[in-house]
Symmetry: D2
Subunit: 399 residues, 4 copies
């Protein structure tokens, strides 16, 4: 059992374990081929059409590298633990639906991590409980905490892969990360993942690259604008569907237009319905909706389809008066009632945190063996003045 | 007027012409965002999800480089000719539908180049005849033949871009082409595109890289298998639709299931219908068809959806007896009638030509100014022994 | 007149100007082929053997890109100014001797920029005063200040090239800089070079990458150690030479061992002597000195030759007592007198400044046309807490 | 014991074996830092200044990858064999002197491989016979022949590394080789190295890339010209030295100017003298010789120093008459006697073989387990028409 997969980012990815191969071949995993990793970012960066399946395979590859490296440093990791950690990272994002994070609350009010867990539990049944250890690691319940931290922390292989991959496919060279060097600097101390002090600058650079990718790519004005448009298209479609308007949709999407799933009240059929859904359902519907008789659904869908997006402006919350003024101008210009205007003039906030000293912080191991937080090394780049949450207010409106 | 677009392959692509910007913004061009350049190759190479829009922009960029280079060598190219050549290359592939070349004959019996021409003529009307010169160049009717050859010959910017782009996104480093060096070696002789003799090895390498991409990527067994499966899914769906079976499809796809467009008999609505069609229509339909009551449509669609593909074998046409034997085994195994077996056991040929001395051959300009064919230089790599068409026969069947 | 040069960093570098070609061909420029850009850093990073000639050509290439870009934005730059700016950047580092900056004060007490100026003035005579404008720009005396700033400021093409080049040849991916994007963001305001606000993150990233290259590469402990060893080898050799010890040296090096050139008292033959000197003179002498009868010269030379370097430790100046203690241990161990110990136990400081708001600061041009310092944008990464000079004290001693 | 070295070509190279670390640290290996891998090619490709040490480390890295891969396929390789194979590849080129292959016969008439063997035997003594197995593998005397073939055959890690490395540092993208894919395709059959048939195209591409690097880089006219100049400088210097002319040279070089070492008559001091020699001895002497009183030595040295090279022309041996004619013109123009002309007008041949079916040919392992030569697969690119030796005659003369 030995498959190699060409990956332009990491070279070759090897699968040499029967169970892992079966999981990768399972329809619930293959479905990730039909979900773009960066949602609508391709409207700005035409290369950003890579899929969640590709990212999952890439993170799995880095997990293998990290495990090899730690073993070379004398950390014991059994074959069973290796398999489990690799499965856990492969499946860490399997609960993403189409165009998450944008649609996360609109299609169904459930966090994607909860869905990932549901799917992993489902697969554990399918595969005769062979995923039990993977689940334990994923949930953070396993004693070797570093295995969980490799999957989910401020310096996990998930982030290392998506930054490398997203900068590769967008062509934004500023996001390039020396992931191979960082992995070579990984070590374990008291079952916790730490970084050798020779790796300080690489980690700083990683945090800066991530911040840069946020402001330049993930939270790019045009990306924000298109995602907000998408959210409101779905919001309008659900409104119409639930008021018995006739609306084209694939069977999979029909369910989500009619139902309001939420984590509090999750009917039995949710998972089955969810696993049928992907980008194609949304994209094919929007193309049809662009000719719908409902003026709002038609207008918004047409705009997204042809990339005729709303204008985005960041503003200072003190200037709410100006915002209100602009809003009534838009309302007047397009002759909209008080309900309709909320589809043509959108308001939202976005924020990003460079680094948090709280949850799953990054620990540097000094030569003398003591640990220190990355923000507390000598002359830290990541210091108190830049570790506060940056919050931006923006409006987005038809022109 | 100045837009820059990040391209991971070429760096930055600049658009600084109003008309070109308007063409790029037109829905018929934006539609190329929803058509994957390499069709189903992503089932083997997960990174190969880049779009036809991205390739068109890339080829446009290389056209700009080529024009700059030729001007530096004293070749006169007016601003109007530059704009026209750039428009022609931008639109050279606009007639591709979803999953061409696989579906080219199945959805409608018209060559994509004819459709490109139809769309360009349509756009020429939309843009007040400003595309007249571009059309002339595209059709090869313009006196400066080299402008046409840059768009369509055995060494055009179309091929330079798609080889560079496809090897980048698949990660198949063997396909990498030194396009910048080749472009620097371009020259013009009697209005024909030629290559300086310092560029011989780069051109040889380009032809070899192209051959390699064919056998390793474009004609990869699994890619052939999945495309043949797709063709037969559509064939079955059209059969059912035309026999009044109820079949899910987007409105755009419905038209093509019902109608049998062909270049000989092209009704008025063809272009309008065609411009609505993209990958999403096919992909969303196949997902629904995977649960259809027709056994064949269901089986084939489910297989493609979950990447449970047919086995492919190349064979020697002398061994047709063995092929027939295998076919009846498959028929028996799956309990199929004589019509059904043709969906479970598929036969086809594929071929590739390394280089042709005929149409639009590659001319090398020697230091003394004389021209010579690339296959006739000293110690040619591209010689008679390898410039024959290579034809492979293969079967593809359910297991 | 048209030459293209392969550059693994930038692709192809074109020289299409007769005068520039003649300057590049001049022995004083060709001499830069024999001076490594990164001095002894190759003892840590084996790939870092690229030359000052290569960097000069690279910076020249970026200057061409910058000029093209500014012209596209409507900034007027004449053909004469273009040629002059390109010559100025080609020659900006021509005053570097072997293993600058390490040997800058040891071989001769003159700043390399003063020597660059002397050589440019010399070449101006050789080339019939055709470098007059280049000199004016180089010295900052020309009215279009931005041309000077492209050569020498905190965001000049010199830095853009050397960061890109040094990270390429060392393989330190953390130093990669999106120089093409930064150049695309260049603009001119009141004859000063500014950066469009869309380029903020790229500039921040550039400053961070530079800081990282300093700590990880240029000021790497082993690099510091080897450079200090080299300085002391030369110091010892000069001491011996000036005390009439017989010492192997090339004629070019003999001059510098005997003479103590300084900017205050510069005899006529200095420039002639200087232009004969390169890395080979130093390297070939050290190899011979490794068998010299002087114990100190022999020991230090042998160590550098065979990469048997001194140990380096950073220390806190408060702990001078411990340093003195260690020093006497070393003196005892190697049985050294009070003069000799200063060759076996070396003390120095090193420092780096991330960004200075003073001299040649980086100005961002906002959409409304106003200028703002890079350290004063919203949520600046480059803020007051990290723009102070970082100074490190270190010792370096035989073991 | 664990060192990592940054390599821009392969990423990180790890040394985790005490003996290997000691060998790498030995002066005879460190000496390779001072010998450029590509000799004078940097006069055409300014980036081509990487060293033989760097190549040796790179080939060592690929050997590690190959061993890992073969073990994954079930081939048994003991820890001792791994160490020995790695040592053998590290030292395979240690017998190269400065500017081999150009100076191989001029400085001393001994093949570099014989010198490599001498040095390895010397090191075996130094390291208490721990290199015995490495020597056996290097000489091809070990039963597991594939270990020798990895070091020396038509598809060894030596070639894989130098093609990758030389194309990286020259920037000649046409030489890029998918070495990682080729290594993944390695297998062993009856103790012989073979390649899986999925790797056919990669191997073809490798052979083509190598051919291209020969004609475009290694045998580039200007490189040939400068190397021939160098050979004649040394030839002249030896002539003068042996006629008791006073001639600057480092002590190491003095020996080789005076002595005519040859493999038939090798005095005791040869190895000691050889190990002191590197590029710096040659380069520093030539700089001094550029002012020597001997007209020929001065002229040739000055030309090489300032890159004022001879013109090169390929010619057809039938046209010897024209060659003779040109020669007498040169003789007349520079007023040279019959002996002197042979320094101003040089004649030589160069040749390259794409692939040989003889010695150490490349075997493809088909799916059914049978072996076949790479030139005999279906539709071979490497066929009889291009596997003949290509020989070129050229002249090289002062202008």
């Amino acid at each position: 059992m030995r498959k190699i997969i060409n990956d332009p980012v990491h070279g070759f990815i090897t699968i040499d374990d029967e169970l892992i191969y079966d999981i990768v071949s399972h329809p619930s995993f293959q479905r990730l081929r039909r979900i773009k990793q960066m949602a609508l970012a391709y409207l700005v960066y035409p290369g950003a059409v890579h899929t969640r399946l590709h990212h999952a395979l890439g993170a799995y590859h880095l997990m293998g590298m990290a495990i090899d490296e730690l073993r070379n440093k004398g950390i014991e990791i059994s074959a069973e633990e290796e398999q489990a950690a690799k499965i856990a990272i492969l499946l860490h994002d399997i609960g993403h639906g189409p165009f998450s994070h944008a649609l996360e609350n609109t299609l169904a009010d459930i966090h994607h991590e909860d869905i990932s867990l549901m799917i992993m539990e489902h697969l554990n049944e399918v595969f005769d409980n062979k995923l039990t250890l993977a689940l334990k690691i994923f949930k953070g319940d396993y004693e070797k905490k570093f295995l969980h931290q490799l999957i989910s922390s401020q310096l996990d292989v998930d982030r290392l892969d998506y930054l490398a991959r997203d900068s590769f496919f967008t062509g934004v060279s500023e996001g390039i990360v020396g992931y191979d060097r960082i992995i070579k600097m990984f070590d374990v101390h008291d079952n916790e993942l730490v970084v050798e002090d020779k790796g300080i600058h690489s980690v700083e650079k990683f945090l800066i690259a991530r911040r840069l990718m946020y402001w330049q790519v993930y939270l790019h004005k045009t990306v924000l604008s298109s995602e907000l448009l998408l959210v409101n298209i779905l919001r309008r479609a659900k409104y119409l569907a639930q008021n018995d308007e006739d609306l084209f949709a694939t069977p999979a999407l029909q369910v989500f237009l009619k139902e309001n799933y939420s984590s509090k009240d999750l009917r039995d059929n949710f998972l089955e319905a969810f696993l049928l859904l992907d980008d194609n359902d949304i994209a094919s519907a929007i193309k049809v909706w662009a000719t719908h008789s409902d003026k709002i659904l038609k207008e918004l869908s047409t705009r997204l389809l042809n990339r005729h997006l709303y204008k985005v402006k960041f503003y200072n919350p003190k200037d709410q008066v100006d915002v209100d003024q602009l809003k009534s101008e838009v309302q007047k210009k397009f002759d909209l009632n008080d309900e309709e205007i909320d589809y043509y003039f959108l308001q939202d906030t976005t924020n990003n945190l460079l680094y948090s000293q709280q949850a799953e912080s990054i620990k540097i191991k000094k030569k003398d063996g003591t640990l220190i937080d990355i923000s507390e090394v000598d002359n830290p780049l990541i210091n108190s003045s830049i570790t506060e949450q940056v919050k931006k207010y923006y409006i987005c409106y038809a022109q």
